[in-house]
Symmetry: C2
Amino acid sequence: MSLPHALLGLLAAAPATGYDLAREFESDLGRYAWQAGHASIYPELARLAARGLVEVVDQGARGSKTYDITEEGREELRSWLLRPPGEGVVRNEGVLRMFLIPALDPDDQRSALTAIAEQAAAGEAELRERLSGAPDPRRGPRRELGLLAARFGLGQYRATNDWARRALDELDARTGGDR
Amino acid sequence: MSLPHALLGLLAAAPATGYDLAREFESDLGRYAWQAGHASIYPELARLAARGLVEVVDQGARGSKTYDITEEGREELRSWLLRPPGEGVVRNEGVLRMFLIPALDPDDQRSALTAIAEQAAAGEAELRERLSGAPDPRRGPRRELGLLAARFGLGQYRATNDWARRALDELDARTGGDR
DNA sequence: TACGACATGTAAGAGGTTACATGATTCG
DNA sequence: CGAATCATGTAACCTCTTACATGTCGTA
Protein backbone atom coordinates (compact mmCIF):
# COMPACT_ATOMS: atom_id res chain seq x y z
CA MET A 1 0.00 0.00 0.00
CA SER A 2 2.95 2.34 -0.34
CA LEU A 3 3.19 2.77 -4.07
CA PRO A 4 0.04 4.91 -4.36
CA HIS A 5 1.33 7.18 -1.61
CA ALA A 6 4.74 7.41 -3.22
CA LEU A 7 3.07 8.56 -6.44
CA LEU A 8 0.90 11.06 -4.60
CA GLY A 9 3.99 12.41 -2.85
CA LEU A 10 5.87 12.89 -6.10
CA LEU A 11 2.91 14.51 -7.81
CA ALA A 12 2.47 16.83 -4.82
CA ALA A 13 5.81 18.40 -5.75
CA ALA A 14 4.93 18.82 -9.43
CA PRO A 15 2.69 17.35 -12.14
CA ALA A 16 4.34 14.59 -14.12
CA THR A 17 3.77 11.82 -16.62
CA GLY A 18 4.00 8.16 -15.67
CA TYR A 19 7.25 8.07 -17.54
CA ASP A 20 8.69 10.90 -15.44
CA LEU A 21 7.62 9.15 -12.26
CA ALA A 22 9.21 5.90 -13.35
CA ARG A 23 12.54 7.68 -13.78
CA GLU A 24 12.19 9.22 -10.33
CA PHE A 25 12.20 5.72 -8.85
CA GLU A 26 15.55 5.03 -10.45
CA SER A 27 17.41 7.53 -8.30
CA ASP A 28 17.62 7.93 -4.52
CA LEU A 29 13.98 7.07 -4.03
CA GLY A 30 14.44 3.60 -5.48
CA ARG A 31 17.84 3.17 -3.89
CA TYR A 32 16.83 3.81 -0.29
CA ALA A 33 13.07 3.84 0.00
CA TRP A 34 10.86 2.18 -2.58
CA GLN A 35 11.30 0.61 -5.99
CA ALA A 36 8.74 0.59 -8.77
CA GLY A 37 8.79 -0.02 -12.49
CA HIS A 38 6.58 1.49 -15.15
CA ALA A 39 4.52 -1.70 -15.28
CA SER A 40 3.23 -1.04 -11.77
CA ILE A 41 3.12 2.74 -12.07
CA TYR A 42 0.78 3.08 -15.06
CA PRO A 43 -1.99 0.88 -13.69
CA GLU A 44 -1.63 2.51 -10.27
CA LEU A 45 -2.04 6.00 -11.76
CA ALA A 46 -5.20 4.79 -13.49
CA ARG A 47 -6.53 3.46 -10.16
CA LEU A 48 -5.67 6.71 -8.37
CA ALA A 49 -7.45 8.66 -11.10
CA ALA A 50 -10.51 6.41 -10.75
CA ARG A 51 -10.51 7.18 -7.01
CA GLY A 52 -10.24 10.90 -7.73
CA LEU A 53 -6.89 11.32 -5.97
CA VAL A 54 -5.08 12.38 -9.13
CA GLU A 55 -6.26 13.74 -12.48
CA VAL A 56 -4.97 14.10 -16.01
CA VAL A 57 -4.21 17.79 -16.52
CA ASP A 58 -2.56 17.60 -19.92
CA GLN A 59 -2.20 15.30 -22.89
CA GLY A 60 0.92 15.96 -24.91
CA ALA A 61 2.86 14.43 -27.73
CA ARG A 62 3.32 10.67 -28.07
CA GLY A 63 0.12 10.01 -26.15
CA SER A 64 1.62 11.31 -22.93
CA LYS A 65 -0.65 12.12 -20.02
CA THR A 66 0.44 14.55 -17.36
CA TYR A 67 -1.07 13.81 -13.96
CA ASP A 68 -1.52 16.16 -11.03
CA ILE A 69 -2.64 15.49 -7.48
CA THR A 70 -6.15 16.62 -6.51
CA GLU A 71 -7.31 18.15 -3.25
CA GLU A 72 -8.58 14.74 -2.10
CA GLY A 73 -5.22 13.30 -3.05
CA ARG A 74 -3.44 15.82 -0.87
CA GLU A 75 -5.65 14.95 2.04
CA GLU A 76 -5.03 11.24 1.62
CA LEU A 77 -1.29 11.86 1.40
CA ARG A 78 -1.32 14.09 4.46
CA SER A 79 -3.21 11.62 6.59
CA TRP A 80 -0.81 8.86 5.54
CA LEU A 81 2.29 10.93 6.30
CA LEU A 82 0.97 12.03 9.68
CA ARG A 83 -0.24 8.57 10.68
CA PRO A 84 1.93 7.30 13.56
CA PRO A 85 4.44 5.05 11.84
CA GLY A 86 3.50 1.52 12.80
CA GLU A 87 6.05 -0.99 11.64
CA GLY A 88 5.81 -0.71 7.87
CA VAL A 89 7.17 -2.99 5.21
CA VAL A 90 10.93 -3.46 5.32
CA ARG A 91 12.78 -5.38 2.68
CA ASN A 92 16.45 -4.78 2.05
CA GLU A 93 18.57 -7.40 0.41
CA GLY A 94 21.85 -5.66 1.18
CA VAL A 95 21.14 -5.48 4.90
CA LEU A 96 20.05 -9.10 4.89
CA ARG A 97 23.40 -10.10 3.44
CA MET A 98 25.16 -8.08 6.12
CA PHE A 99 23.29 -9.85 8.89
CA LEU A 100 24.07 -13.31 7.56
CA ILE A 101 27.81 -12.80 7.20
CA PRO A 102 28.59 -14.72 10.43
CA ALA A 103 27.54 -17.87 8.55
CA LEU A 104 30.78 -17.66 6.54
CA ASP A 105 34.20 -18.82 7.63
CA PRO A 106 36.58 -16.07 8.81
CA ASP A 107 38.37 -15.56 5.49
CA ASP A 108 35.13 -15.21 3.59
CA GLN A 109 33.76 -12.92 6.28
CA ARG A 110 36.76 -10.71 5.80
CA SER A 111 36.26 -10.37 2.06
CA ALA A 112 32.53 -9.83 2.35
CA LEU A 113 32.94 -7.15 5.03
CA THR A 114 35.73 -5.47 3.10
CA ALA A 115 33.57 -5.36 -0.02
CA ILE A 116 30.72 -3.80 1.96
CA ALA A 117 32.97 -1.17 3.54
CA GLU A 118 34.47 -0.26 0.19
CA GLN A 119 31.14 -0.05 -1.53
CA ALA A 120 29.78 2.16 1.22
CA ALA A 121 32.82 4.43 1.03
CA ALA A 122 32.44 4.73 -2.73
CA GLY A 123 28.74 5.48 -2.43
CA GLU A 124 29.42 8.11 0.19
CA ALA A 125 32.10 9.78 -1.91
CA GLU A 126 29.88 9.87 -4.96
CA LEU A 127 26.98 11.35 -3.02
CA ARG A 128 29.18 13.90 -1.31
CA GLU A 129 30.38 15.09 -4.66
CA ARG A 130 26.84 15.36 -5.98
CA LEU A 131 25.82 17.38 -2.93
CA SER A 132 28.74 19.77 -3.16
CA GLY A 133 28.28 20.42 -6.88
CA ALA A 134 25.74 22.76 -8.38
CA PRO A 135 22.17 21.62 -7.76
CA ASP A 136 20.90 19.56 -10.67
CA PRO A 137 18.78 21.96 -12.75
CA ARG A 138 16.73 19.16 -14.31
CA ARG A 139 15.04 18.28 -11.05
CA GLY A 140 13.33 21.58 -10.53
CA PRO A 141 10.44 21.28 -8.11
CA ARG A 142 11.61 17.96 -6.74
CA ARG A 143 15.01 19.35 -5.82
CA GLU A 144 14.12 19.42 -2.15
CA LEU A 145 13.08 15.78 -2.13
CA GLY A 146 16.33 14.87 -3.81
CA LEU A 147 18.40 16.86 -1.35
CA LEU A 148 16.72 15.24 1.62
CA ALA A 149 17.15 11.80 0.07
CA ALA A 150 20.79 12.35 -0.76
CA ARG A 151 21.55 13.46 2.78
CA PHE A 152 19.79 10.41 4.10
CA GLY A 153 21.90 8.25 1.82
CA LEU A 154 25.02 9.91 3.13
CA GLY A 155 24.15 8.97 6.70
CA GLN A 156 23.26 5.48 5.54
CA TYR A 157 26.58 4.89 3.82
CA ARG A 158 28.48 6.31 6.76
CA ALA A 159 26.66 4.03 9.21
CA THR A 160 27.21 1.01 6.97
CA ASN A 161 30.89 1.75 6.59
CA ASP A 162 31.35 2.17 10.36
CA TRP A 163 29.43 -1.02 10.99
CA ALA A 164 31.51 -3.06 8.56
CA ARG A 165 34.82 -1.71 9.81
CA ARG A 166 33.90 -2.45 13.41
CA ALA A 167 32.89 -5.98 12.46
CA LEU A 168 36.23 -6.38 10.68
CA ASP A 169 38.13 -5.17 13.75
CA GLU A 170 36.37 -7.68 15.95
CA LEU A 171 36.93 -10.44 13.49
CA ASP A 172 40.65 -9.69 13.53
CA ALA A 173 40.66 -9.64 17.32
CA ARG A 174 38.90 -13.00 17.47
CA THR A 175 41.05 -14.75 14.92
CA GLY A 176 44.38 -13.48 16.21
CA GLY A 177 44.75 -10.42 14.03
CA ASP A 178 47.52 -11.92 11.93
CA ARG A 179 47.51 -12.31 8.12
CA MET B 1 14.84 -14.59 -4.11
CA SER B 2 16.04 -13.55 -0.67
CA LEU B 3 13.80 -15.57 1.59
CA PRO B 4 15.47 -18.91 0.81
CA HIS B 5 18.87 -17.38 1.54
CA ALA B 6 17.64 -15.83 4.75
CA LEU B 7 16.46 -19.26 5.88
CA LEU B 8 19.74 -20.87 4.89
CA GLY B 9 21.63 -18.20 6.81
CA LEU B 10 19.61 -18.75 9.95
CA LEU B 11 19.93 -22.51 9.74
CA ALA B 12 23.67 -22.15 9.20
CA ALA B 13 23.91 -20.82 12.76
CA ALA B 14 21.82 -23.62 14.26
CA PRO B 15 19.11 -26.14 13.32
CA ALA B 16 15.60 -24.88 13.91
CA THR B 17 11.92 -25.55 13.26
CA GLY B 18 9.87 -23.41 10.91
CA TYR B 19 8.23 -21.96 13.96
CA ASP B 20 11.59 -20.90 15.44
CA LEU B 21 12.55 -19.27 12.16
CA ALA B 22 9.26 -17.38 11.99
CA ARG B 23 9.97 -15.87 15.40
CA GLU B 24 13.45 -14.90 14.29
CA PHE B 25 11.88 -12.68 11.63
CA GLU B 26 9.98 -10.78 14.28
CA SER B 27 13.10 -9.25 15.84
CA ASP B 28 15.93 -7.24 14.29
CA LEU B 29 15.95 -9.29 11.13
CA GLY B 30 12.38 -8.34 10.28
CA ARG B 31 12.83 -4.79 11.52
CA TYR B 32 15.83 -3.85 9.38
CA ALA B 33 16.39 -6.48 6.73
CA TRP B 34 13.64 -8.84 5.65
CA GLN B 35 10.15 -9.75 6.79
CA ALA B 36 8.51 -13.13 6.45
CA GLY B 37 5.55 -14.88 8.03
CA HIS B 38 5.07 -18.56 8.71
CA ALA B 39 2.85 -18.88 5.66
CA SER B 40 5.80 -18.16 3.39
CA ILE B 41 8.39 -19.93 5.54
CA TYR B 42 6.85 -23.42 5.67
CA PRO B 43 6.42 -23.84 1.92
CA GLU B 44 9.89 -22.38 1.33
CA LEU B 45 11.48 -24.89 3.74
CA ALA B 46 9.74 -27.67 1.83
CA ARG B 47 11.12 -26.33 -1.45
CA LEU B 48 14.63 -26.04 0.00
CA ALA B 49 14.40 -29.60 1.27
CA ALA B 50 13.29 -30.78 -2.17
CA ARG B 51 16.36 -29.07 -3.65
CA GLY B 52 18.58 -30.74 -1.06
CA LEU B 53 19.75 -27.49 0.52
CA VAL B 54 18.22 -28.28 3.92
CA GLU B 55 17.07 -31.51 5.55
CA VAL B 56 14.83 -32.61 8.40
CA VAL B 57 17.11 -33.80 11.18
CA ASP B 58 14.53 -34.34 13.90
CA GLN B 59 10.80 -34.74 14.37
CA GLY B 60 9.63 -33.77 17.83
CA ALA B 61 6.40 -33.28 19.70
CA ARG B 62 3.39 -31.60 18.07
CA GLY B 63 4.53 -32.69 14.64
CA SER B 64 7.49 -30.34 14.74
CA LYS B 65 10.28 -30.77 12.21
CA THR B 66 13.75 -29.52 12.92
CA TYR B 67 15.65 -28.49 9.80
CA ASP B 68 19.37 -28.20 9.31
CA ILE B 69 21.38 -26.83 6.40
CA THR B 70 23.21 -29.35 4.18
CA GLU B 71 26.64 -29.04 2.63
CA GLU B 72 25.03 -28.01 -0.67
CA GLY B 73 23.02 -25.45 1.25
CA ARG B 74 26.17 -23.95 2.73
CA GLU B 75 27.71 -23.68 -0.70
CA GLU B 76 24.64 -21.96 -2.11
CA LEU B 77 24.58 -19.55 0.84
CA ARG B 78 28.28 -18.82 0.50
CA SER B 79 28.06 -18.07 -3.20
CA TRP B 80 25.11 -15.76 -2.57
CA LEU B 81 26.85 -13.88 0.23
CA LEU B 82 30.06 -13.46 -1.74
CA ARG B 83 28.30 -12.42 -4.94
CA PRO B 84 29.08 -8.74 -5.63
CA PRO B 85 26.04 -6.89 -4.32
CA GLY B 86 24.25 -5.61 -7.36
CA GLU B 87 21.36 -3.36 -6.45
CA GLY B 88 19.07 -5.67 -4.52
CA VAL B 89 15.46 -5.20 -3.53
CA VAL B 90 14.85 -2.16 -1.32
CA ARG B 91 11.50 -1.47 0.20
CA ASN B 92 11.17 0.63 3.34
CA GLU B 93 7.94 2.34 4.15
CA GLY B 94 9.45 4.46 6.93
CA VAL B 95 12.13 5.90 4.67
CA LEU B 96 9.55 6.56 1.98
CA ARG B 97 7.55 8.64 4.42
CA MET B 98 10.65 10.58 5.35
CA PHE B 99 11.37 11.44 1.74
CA LEU B 100 7.86 12.67 1.06
CA ILE B 101 7.64 15.02 4.02
CA PRO B 102 8.31 18.12 1.87
CA ALA B 103 4.83 17.59 0.41
CA LEU B 104 3.34 18.80 3.71
CA ASP B 105 2.89 22.38 4.82
CA PRO B 106 5.49 23.67 7.31
CA ASP B 107 3.49 22.97 10.47
CA ASP B 108 2.77 19.42 9.43
CA GLN B 109 6.38 18.94 8.40
CA ARG B 110 7.42 20.02 11.86
CA SER B 111 5.22 17.47 13.60
CA ALA B 112 6.15 14.65 11.25
CA LEU B 113 9.87 15.34 11.62
CA THR B 114 9.56 15.66 15.37
CA ALA B 115 7.76 12.33 15.57
CA ILE B 116 10.49 10.69 13.50
CA ALA B 117 13.27 12.15 15.63
CA GLU B 118 11.56 11.06 18.84
CA GLN B 119 10.87 7.58 17.57
CA ALA B 120 14.48 7.18 16.47
CA ALA B 121 15.74 8.41 19.84
CA ALA B 122 13.48 5.96 21.65
CA GLY B 123 14.57 3.09 19.43
CA GLU B 124 18.19 3.96 19.97
CA ALA B 125 17.78 4.09 23.74
CA GLU B 126 15.99 0.77 23.82
CA LEU B 127 18.65 -0.91 21.70
CA ARG B 128 21.47 0.61 23.71
CA GLU B 129 19.99 -0.82 26.85
CA ARG B 130 19.62 -4.24 25.29
CA LEU B 131 23.24 -4.16 24.14
CA SER B 132 24.59 -3.08 27.51
CA GLY B 133 22.62 -5.70 29.43
CA ALA B 134 23.54 -9.35 29.76
CA PRO B 135 23.43 -11.16 26.42
CA ASP B 136 20.08 -12.81 25.92
CA PRO B 137 20.62 -16.48 26.83
CA ARG B 138 17.70 -17.69 24.72
CA ARG B 139 19.39 -16.82 21.47
CA GLY B 140 22.32 -19.15 21.92
CA PRO B 141 24.00 -19.83 18.58
CA ARG B 142 22.34 -16.89 16.88
CA ARG B 143 23.69 -14.43 19.45
CA GLU B 144 26.29 -13.15 17.03
CA LEU B 145 23.71 -12.43 14.35
CA GLY B 146 21.63 -10.60 16.88
CA LEU B 147 24.56 -8.52 18.09
CA LEU B 148 25.50 -7.50 14.58
CA ALA B 149 21.91 -6.64 13.79
CA ALA B 150 21.44 -4.64 16.95
CA ARG B 151 24.54 -2.60 16.28
CA PHE B 152 23.35 -1.94 12.77
CA GLY B 153 20.04 -0.76 14.18
CA LEU B 154 21.86 1.59 16.51
CA GLY B 155 23.65 3.25 13.60
CA GLN B 156 20.41 3.40 11.72
CA TYR B 157 18.50 5.14 14.48
CA ARG B 158 21.36 7.57 15.04
CA ALA B 159 21.48 8.47 11.35
CA THR B 160 17.71 8.89 11.22
CA ASN B 161 17.67 11.08 14.28
CA ASP B 162 20.45 13.30 12.93
CA TRP B 163 18.71 13.53 9.59
CA ALA B 164 15.38 14.56 11.10
CA ARG B 165 16.91 17.13 13.41
CA ARG B 166 18.86 18.70 10.60
CA ALA B 167 15.73 18.87 8.47
CA LEU B 168 13.93 20.53 11.40
CA ASP B 169 16.70 23.11 11.77
CA GLU B 170 16.50 24.01 8.12
CA LEU B 171 12.74 24.21 8.24
CA ASP B 172 12.99 26.66 11.12
CA ALA B 173 15.58 28.70 9.24
CA ARG B 174 13.36 28.85 6.15
CA THR B 175 10.15 29.75 7.93
CA GLY B 176 11.67 32.38 10.17
CA GLY B 177 12.33 30.24 13.21
CA ASP B 178 9.61 31.89 15.27
CA ARG B 179 6.59 30.16 16.90
C1' DT C 1 16.73 7.21 -42.10
C1' DA C 2 18.10 4.90 -38.29
C1' DC C 3 18.72 5.09 -33.52
C1' DG C 4 17.83 6.47 -28.97
C1' DA C 5 14.76 8.44 -25.87
C1' DC C 6 9.99 9.22 -24.91
C1' DA C 7 5.63 7.12 -23.75
C1' DT C 8 2.04 3.76 -22.57
C1' DG C 9 0.10 -0.35 -21.95
C1' DT C 10 -1.02 -5.82 -21.05
C1' DA C 11 -0.17 -10.82 -19.62
C1' DA C 12 1.90 -14.31 -17.09
C1' DG C 13 3.92 -15.59 -13.23
C1' DA C 14 6.63 -15.13 -8.90
C1' DG C 15 6.52 -13.95 -4.26
C1' DG C 16 4.26 -12.67 -0.28
C1' DT C 17 0.19 -11.57 3.12
C1' DT C 18 -4.15 -12.51 5.34
C1' DA C 19 -7.37 -15.51 6.68
C1' DC C 20 -8.80 -20.04 7.42
C1' DA C 21 -8.03 -24.54 9.55
C1' DT C 22 -6.27 -27.88 12.72
C1' DG C 23 -4.25 -29.96 16.54
C1' DA C 24 -0.74 -30.91 20.66
C1' DT C 25 1.41 -29.43 24.85
C1' DT C 26 2.23 -26.74 28.91
C1' DC C 27 1.13 -24.03 32.74
C1' DG C 28 -1.65 -21.80 36.07
C1' DC D 1 -9.83 -27.44 32.41
C1' DG D 2 -9.08 -23.27 30.01
C1' DA D 3 -5.80 -20.20 27.91
C1' DA D 4 -1.51 -19.36 25.88
C1' DT D 5 1.98 -21.13 23.25
C1' DC D 6 3.84 -24.34 20.15
C1' DA D 7 3.48 -26.14 15.53
C1' DT D 8 2.18 -26.88 10.72
C1' DG D 9 -0.26 -26.31 6.81
C1' DT D 10 -3.59 -24.48 2.68
C1' DA D 11 -6.41 -21.12 -0.16
C1' DA D 12 -7.49 -16.75 -1.86
C1' DC D 13 -5.86 -12.67 -2.84
C1' DC D 14 -2.75 -8.76 -3.71
C1' DT D 15 1.39 -6.71 -5.41
C1' DC D 16 5.09 -6.36 -8.18
C1' DT D 17 8.44 -8.03 -11.82
C1' DT D 18 9.58 -9.72 -16.32
C1' DA D 19 8.55 -10.06 -20.76
C1' DC D 20 5.87 -8.87 -24.55
C1' DA D 21 3.85 -5.31 -27.52
C1' DT D 22 3.31 -0.94 -29.76
C1' DG D 23 4.02 3.50 -31.42
C1' DT D 24 6.01 8.64 -31.58
C1' DC D 25 9.42 12.20 -31.75
C1' DG D 26 13.97 14.39 -32.13
C1' DT D 27 18.44 14.38 -33.90
C1' DA D 28 22.74 13.00 -35.92
